[in-house]
């Protein structure tokens, strides 16, 4: 029968196909590549790609062909979980960089925890991500309860604000951050005149600005992403309101300045990523990113680049421990959790027992007249 012949040829082809692939090693990125968050998700993918490109040679020396496989989670938890399971099913994948949304990483990392597929997250700041104590879940970004208070303290101590208006974008990121900042500010005796949310896709701030005009706060804390903060700042400044706006690492992008235009003034944000010029490694990464993708590197790209490097260095460490053989996922998991990683753009990374960064220097970046400068640093230490 024709079909049998076909099946046999397929079988033959399959066997042949597997003969070549001896020591392919892959890392995966899981982030939204389609839909309205694709802008951020693509930075995560590109950052990881940059690190893979950079370390390909080193892996080749060790007899491993390194590549990145990018998955689209569409910012949807079920799709993200399915993507993680796909990655786990591919035996060559030793770790994952991702995701953008805490709502995706929480189920996805739990689903592949038994397969010991290591996650290094560049962007999930929600406390729950690591507080579950999963062995495979690590992150290099600051937690909400580190970042929020850092911003809150800055509002109270440096800006000396007495009345603050708190806004969040109703995403796990924005709301978690705003809640923590609010807590810290209240502890310092700052009064929160109103704390509320606005849908992340909303670009019309007429109502919010009317409210701010009536409440006259000394500062505005906005837990949100630059794509929304930019237009907000612009509309606010257009109405002649110069109140400072403070936020978290979601503001970290040059696009913030472009979006806010003339309104890019008196904006502050907290981040673990230092200004690009401050660290040589960051400068090189930025140049390489520009060259590869013909775009400026932005906050999520920086963090993802570092996440991928942590993961890749972890794989190399595990490789050495495994007597120069391709390590297992379990070995990678241990190596990432216990290793100390240097040469990163955001400083040294070492994880605590839950996968949070033990020490991190946090910067408060000020945006004035469209230019950034460092307004202060905070040391975050977790025991």
């Amino acid at each position: 029968m024709k079909k049998t012949a076909l099946s046999l040829s397929i079988l033959a082809a399959l066997t042949l196909g597997s003969a070549h692939a001896a020591t392919v090693v892959k890392i995966a990125s899981i982030s939204p590549l389609s839909g309205s968050n694709s802008n951020l998700g693509l930075q995560i993918k590109n950052g990881a790609q940059l690190a893979v490109n950079e370390m390909k040679a080193e892996f080749a020396k060790a007899g491993m062909t390194l590549s990145l496989v990018a998955y689209d989670d569409q910012a949807d938890p079920a799709t993200g979980t399915a993507a993680a399971r796909r990655a786990a099913a591919d035996k060559a994948v030793l770790g994952v960089v991702g995701t953008l949304n805490s709502g995706v990483v929480i189920p996805a990392s739990a689903a592949v925890a038994p397969s010991k597929l290591t996650f290094v997250s560049p962007a999930n700041t929600n406390e729950k991500v690591t507080d579950r104590g999963l062995k495979n879940m690590n992150r290099i970004c600051a937690r909400d309860d580190a970042q929020g208070p850092a911003g809150g303290d800055f509002v109270a101590d440096n800006l000396k604000a007495k009345k603050v208006y708190v806004l969040n974008d109703k995403t796990p990121y924005g709301q978690g951050l705003a809640e923590q900042a609010e807590k810290a500010m209240k502890a310092k005796g700052v009064s929160v005149v109103q704390s509320e949310g606005v849908a992340a896709e909303e670009r019309d701030f007429t109502a919010i600005i009317t409210k701010i005009q009536a409440l006259k706060p000394d500062a505005i804390y906005f837990g949100g992403l630059y794509g929304q903060v930019g237009p907000f700042a612009k509309q606010l400044r257009d109405k002649g309101i110069t109140t400072p706006i403070i936020g978290g690492d979601g503001f970290d992008s040059d696009d913030l300045v472009k979006l806010a235009g003339s309104g890019a003034n008196n904006i502050y944000f907290t981040t673990v990523a230092p200004p690009v010029d401050a660290v040589p490694a960051a400068k090189n990464a930025a140049a390489a990113y520009q060259k590869t993708f013909n775009q400026d590197i932005q906050g999520f790209g920086v963090m993802s680049y570092d996440s991928a490097k942590v993961l890749l260095q972890g794989i190399l460490n595990a490789y050495k421990l495994n007597k120069n053989k391709v390590p297992t996922r379990a070995q990678v998991e241990t190596a990432v959790r216990s290793g100390t990683f240097k040469n990163l753009t955001t400083g040294e990374v070492k994880f605590d027992k839950n996968g949070d960064r033990m020490t991190a220097k946090m910067y408060v970046i000020a945006v004035k007249d469209g230019n950034r400068s460092t307004a202060g640093t905070v040391n975050v230490i977790r025991k």
Partner: protein, 329 residues
Amino acid sequence: MDLQTIGTILLQVAVGGLSLGVLYAIIALGYTMVYGVLQLINFAHSEVFIAGGIVGYFVFEALKDASLNGYLKLIVACLAAMFVSGGLNVLIERLAYRPLRGAQRLVPLITAIGVSLVLQDSLRFLVGVRGLFDLSVNLPKGFTNSITTFLGVNISLLNLQVKDIILIGVAGLMMLGLNLLVNHTRMGRAMRAVAHDRQTSGLMGINSDSIISLTFLIGGALGGLGGVMFAMKYQALNAYSGTIPGMKAFTAAVLGGIGNIPGAMLGGLVLGWVETFLGVVSLFQGIPGLHWLGAIKAEYKDLGAFLALILILFFKPAGLLGKATTEKV
């Protein structure tokens, strides 16, 4: 809370809601016209609309250094956007809806959703994932200025900007023009005939296909104009920016009575006002007896739009200005 503050806030809501509402209204007109002739929810309209914004952006970009009056630039941008969006809409109709003429109703609806998805990613291919946002640089300077005095009266507390005035003016003109076209021209009569009964209008010698194309052209052009207005108002857009305003505008069209042109306008305004009002309503918790308003925070703004829709349809099932149709048996 004194009366003056309350008055100021309400005034600002009225003005802010108006400016938002007319934008919804412009987009809603595109939905309502297409619905009028085909009884089809054109889900792709939100992308047609944002395509207009993108075209407008490119025109502004191209004319950045031209020594042209800012208002002339705006007119050029609007015309280009209307042309492209109108054409796009006609093309969509030709390729995706016309072959389904007479098919069961849900079929073109699904096609429309498919077209919308295709357009989103295609537009993203065109403008890149980061979208376009340098309009602030390109837009003529005066457009964002605040208007502080009107006929010698200080109106700075209204928060009005030049672009709001343009937006409101354009919407008003469009509404008038459209009304003239539909109610007082032969073409308009043909459109109404096709909307009313396609088959019979065919017997009367009206080429319904070309009238439908024309409707899509006008609806798309209005969408394109709305896109430029959107770009002017918010000065940033990407391939997905159209989804939310599109959905709101569609809600507005239904709220006003879908298929009805003044209804779309009214629906847009109602929605703009409801939304803006709900966004600030918690300020009134200071008024004695209204303490509970504090619980209605800005995040419930979008809820207001849909609740208004449900409430209005509950009492007027055909929308504010829609005529209740009697079933022919």
